[in-house]
Symmetry: C2
Subunit: 398 residues, 2 copies
């Protein structure tokens, strides 16, 4: 006789990405499927040096329990960094250290969502945010997006007519999965709407530091007059993901609620990892390190975009992202990305079909390309193969 599980377990399913990623663990597969940063850019030597230093300087303090809020010097750095880069006015008490920005999403679900509440999100949106929020029993309303971000008129219409909306979840900079960046005007407008309708916004920002070109934009949080906007961040894409150190920033009263919830969830994040990052930030120039990542990813983006232009039919649309890890391809209507994937996997090339990124399922003719984890020559090879498969599918369908 099976045990009785929570109702949520009936809709928490193994994600398609997870299954694809299993295939991509074979060394000879060209994978555009994950969201993995380039490991060759991780500061291994520096981490080795700094963790020795921390263990020497702090000794057992680096291995003992610490506060749920996280290591104070790290929280101070994050606040200062956000103020400098994102136009916010925060101090350490606005910051909670989390297990990657993913945990910022999970804790947001815990703090805000009751069953049957509504979360508004971009269409498409980050797959694992859907999982994180869904485990609190919410439903989603997808708001249409274009090159400039979420459609604010469509959003306002939903806000003004729908009860039980608790959160608006957005990734305004180098969005996952589309690679798009919101315009300044939309950012301001979302902050206004959040205030007018008194709805919290989760501004997810794990990629914002990785800008290849164009002007940096202030965060939505910087236009927050009511304290309704929370902003996540992460060291995964600018340092290393294995440490699982990210953060959520927001109004102090709200962050205090998150701290209580964090404590019941897992007490705190890894003490040594937090101290190692903080000491690294003191001793090394993270801007220089980030510039190195940006240089490599920009080249990979260039090759990706160039090859898409050359190898795909003219009838597709795609993003030329100004930063981040992803581009997004819209195939001609009726070309199913899942079928294209099956053919590509036979040729040892992987990506994620775009349908997964729509909470309601949709747009089976889209696909997400991650270009950060493959060297240029393999990107070239891989994109050509996908292009070929798409062209052949179209030829055969005609």
């Amino acid at each position: 006789m099976e045990l009785h599980f929570a109702q949520r377990m009936s809709y928490i399913k193994a994600s398609e990405i997870r299954e694809i990623l299993k295939v991509t663990q074979q060394e000879d597969v060209i994978s555009f499927a994950g969201g993995l940063p380039a490991p060759e850019l991780f500061p291994v030597e520096e981490i080795n040096e700094i963790s020795q230093l921390v263990l020497k300087e702090a000794g057992t303090k680096a291995l003992q329990y610490t506060t749920a809020e996280g290591y104070a010097p790290l929280r101070e750095w994050i606040a200062a960094r956000m103020n400098l880069r994102l136009g916010t006015r925060l101090d350490k008490d606005n910051i909670l250290i989390t297990h990657g920005s993913q945990q910022g999403l999970d804790l947001s679900g815990k703090v805000f969502l009751d069953e049957e509440d509504l979360v508004l999100c971009e269409s498409p949106t980050y797959l694992a945010a859907i999982s994180a929020f869904k485990s609190y029993g919410c439903n989603f309303i997808e708001i249409p997006t274009d090159e400039d971000g979420m459609d604010m008129d469509a959003l306002e219409k939903v806000l003004s007519t729908t009860p039980r909306i608790k959160l608006i979840y957005v990734i305004p900079t180098f969005q996952n999965p589309t690679g798009r960046t919101w315009s300044l005007e939309r950012r301001k407008r979302l902050a206004e709407l959040s205030a007018a309708y008194n709805i919290a916004v989760i501004e997810d920002n794990p990629y914002g530091e990785l800008r290849f070109e164009g002007e940096s934009l202030p965060s939505i949080k910087s236009f927050d007059k009511t304290g309704n906007i929370l902003c996540t961040g992460s060291f995964s894409k600018i340092f290393c993901p294995g440490f699982r150190i990210g953060w959520i920033a927001g109004d102090k009263e709200i962050i205090r609620k998150y701290v209580l919830v964090k404590q019941g969830t897992d007490l705190q994040c890894n003490t040594l990892a937090q101290m190692t990052i903080a000491r690294y930030l003191e001793k090394y120039d993270i801007d220089r390190h980030i510039a190195g990542i940006v240089e490599v990813y920009k080249k990979r983006r260039d090759v990706t975009v160039q090859c898409i232009r050359e190898s795909f039919p003219d009838t597709i649309k795609f993003t030329n992202p100004e930063g981040g890890l992803f581009t997004w391809i819209e195939l001609p209507e009726g070309v199913p990305a899942r079928l294209v994937l099956d053919k590509c996997l036979e040729k040892k090339v992987a990506f994620v079909p775009g349908g997964s990124f729509y909470p309601g399922g949709n747009k089976e003719n889209t696909l997400r390309i991650n270009y950060s984890n493959m060297p240029e020559e393999r990107i070239e090879q891989g994109i050509r193969i996908i292009g070929e498969v798409v062209k052949q599918y179209i030829r055969e369908a005609e």
Copy 2:
């Protein structure tokens, strides 16, 4: 205008322990309040050496994303260790690595609990388990306990008459807060009742390795014939808590559900921390390390018990624990531990009043003493002070 938070936020409150722990951060306070292991026993040198080794051997793999399940060699070690020490028959696919055993509790809530479901627990029980489960909207039924563990007849009566029970939560070895250990017979009986009523058991076991004397007992999980029993464990008390590495062990089908939930929650645990522990376990003799911890804690337990005998009135009851971190004192009826605490804090001595450990609030004349984090002479001083305050309270009340 305040935002609308989830209903659970109305009953997630700052814990009393958290407030007391703030006081205990002053160096001159003698604290029996936390559950902190003795930092002077952390293997700092070895961790330093091994993490260098891991970064040298595994390089960027130690800093990259890994699977949600956790690092395979570490899961293998845990399964083998449990089989050896706890009488289970597990392999790595029975194990999920979690952020301390605390996260094992949180994920258990997520996997099993709908709002208004019931959790049965020992009375008293671990405070942060109450917080973890409560955030899923459950209610608690406390089952009476005595020196041999939970009262099985009382448990069966509740099981046979109450709908919506989803979990039975127990800490059968060196219980927090009481320091008590369940008899073999009760362990067997709980496994039988779990099977007969088809209710999952969470057997929380963060202290089991720290036995000072007496015979080791098999885990409840070892008597599990239906796969209904899950068992948590942790490296916090035998290695260091700052790494935030623990585990949950159970039936493979159920662990797969936990893995899905873990993925949406925070993707995975720290890769380097997992690899460092695994490599340490290969290279060093953890049994020897644990023997060192046991030797120190046993002395501290001895002093604690000796001083309680000498300094407290004869009318109290207390546990002489066979292992672990805690003892538990029951003051005479009508002596409120919270008032005693206030007086003790004036004299720079802290502990946790026992009332907090009862989900329904109760037994204000009890208190928990943690003896692992203070040297013997301070334990002596501190216990004498508490004893004095108690005696004085009784004198004044008479």
